[in-house]
Symmetry: C2
Subunit: 251 residues, 2 copies
DNA sequence: CGTTACGTTGATAGGAATCAATGAGGGTGG
DNA sequence: CCACCCTCATTGATTCCTATCAACGTAACG
């Protein structure tokens, strides 16, 4: 309730700049990486982590709008997101764009190209992002365990996708609340605020992701703001009443 | 694949010893398995396949309604479907059942338990089904490559799921046509007829899977029958005009 | 032969898409 | 620095599709 009256100073677009500076200043080995528990190394021993470090190409920086890989391009390896945010889209035969999801730090990008050696989706940066390329060929020799780790990530991804799937049958409001809570949770897991974060996507993109119209997304977000559950300022959202939001999501 | 249409009499509940004996007589090694190209061995060499064979527990028969594993049960390994059909469902906090999908021969079941060591879904047989259990602990030593293979399966599964996801935004008719064409394609890939197959699921289950109401499913299927695109006979469907069906799906 | 679960069909209501118009923000060039 | 354009967001009015409600038919089964 105190949140309601607290002054909300919005510093736009500062996040990515901060990241960039931080990233430049610290050496980003896997061993010292802050995302250690979320990224691949989870489950590997010290020796393996050291080997992994060698097989990863660091310092790949993407600016907003930059493409990590394009649909139908040849699969060359997976990527671990170190900072920023990326979106994954799929373009069908009719040229229609479909937003599949968002990737945040600690998540693995590229599974869409693994089975057929050709990427099924396009991934691009929603803000300045830092990704680590995983050279699978090199790693496989050094760490046989790596595929088990990756399979865990894939498995986890499958579970998440299916959980989100079952949300689609609910109302527009529930889908939007679920989207907000999902972002909130994922931010929180990565050490950022669960109550104040970036939506990254435009209203149209959110609509696309949730299978709604942009107008409905706009109206629903506004309604949530009117009932003091959230506060909006462009793409930035502040959660004012997490309890009520969670309840609405569950009932 | 006679197993699919075998006239075995179904007796509910537990697996009978009789069936185990029958299976002993038709013991199928991975090497000689007709699903060879669809199942795990794809990409493994002869020596590896032999080793794989040892690490797989055969003889698991499920009859209609039997459960392969339950939600929240401990993950013990993956399963490869040898014959039959299974459905995977998820039950949420409110006890609502959500149909996640269908598994057909050659597909791998169990990824939902891999990341957290606890199954996130319940899998049960839609008809008499034969599954091979994959003992991961044993295999890992013999075949380091196995996780790469499994990751390919998982990756493939992710692609399929996302493709299906993007269908959800379309009309009821398109969703149902997509469902029919998906089953048709998968049947065809497994050597069965692309034009005459079993829906396996009840109208309610189809509705649930496609996020529709049972009434809408019924009506839409009837409309497709009225326009002579398909022919229905209980759960069995015949595709009369594949071209028109495919066109309707694409436009 | 009744019971039960499932499937079909019709009537109605409601929620989201669509259509339409305006408003806000961001970049560009004069 | 401001006018202009362009994209995105918002808001309202209307339409349309699907869910829901309701009733009846049908098949399986004890």
């Amino acid at each position: 309730m105190t949140l309601l009256n607290s002054p909300w100073i919005c510093r736009k677009n500062t996040m990515s700049v901060v990241y960039k500076n931080i990233l430049d200043s610290i050496r980003v080995s896997c061993e010292s990486c802050g995302l250690n528990s979320l990224c691949i190394p989870r489950g590997l021993n010290e020796n393996e982590i050291e080997k992994l470090d060698i097989s990863i190409t660091h310092k790949t920086i993407l600016r907003q709008g930059d493409t990590l890989y394009k649909q139908n391009s040849i699969f060359t390896g997976l990527y671990a997101v170190k900072s920023g945010a990326l979106k994954i889209i799929n373009i069908n035969e009719l040229g229609e764009e479909s937003v599949v999801g968002i990737f945040l730090p600690g998540e693995i990008v590229g599974f869409d190209g693994f089975s057929s050696d050709k990427h099924q989706c396009t991934v691009s940066a929603l803000e300045t992002s830092h990704v680590c390329k995983i050279q699978l060929d090199e790693i496989q020799e050094a760490i046989p365990n790596i595929y088990k780790q990756l399979l865990k990530h894939a498995s986890n991804f499958i579970n998440d996708t299916q959980a989100k799937n079952s949300l689609i049958k609910t109302s527009a409001e529930k889908r939007i609340i679920a989207f907000l809570l999902d972002l909130s949770k994922r931010h929180n897991e990565r050490g950022y605020s669960a109550f104040d974060f970036n939506l990254y996507l435009s209203r149209s993109n959110i609509a696309n992701l949730l299978h709604l119209s942009p107008e409905t997304v706009s109206r629903t977000l506004r309604n949530l703001e009117r009932t003091h559950l959230i506060k909006l300022e462009s793409k930035r959202v502040k959660i004012l009443n997490m309890t009520a939001l969670t309840e609405k999501n569950e009932v």
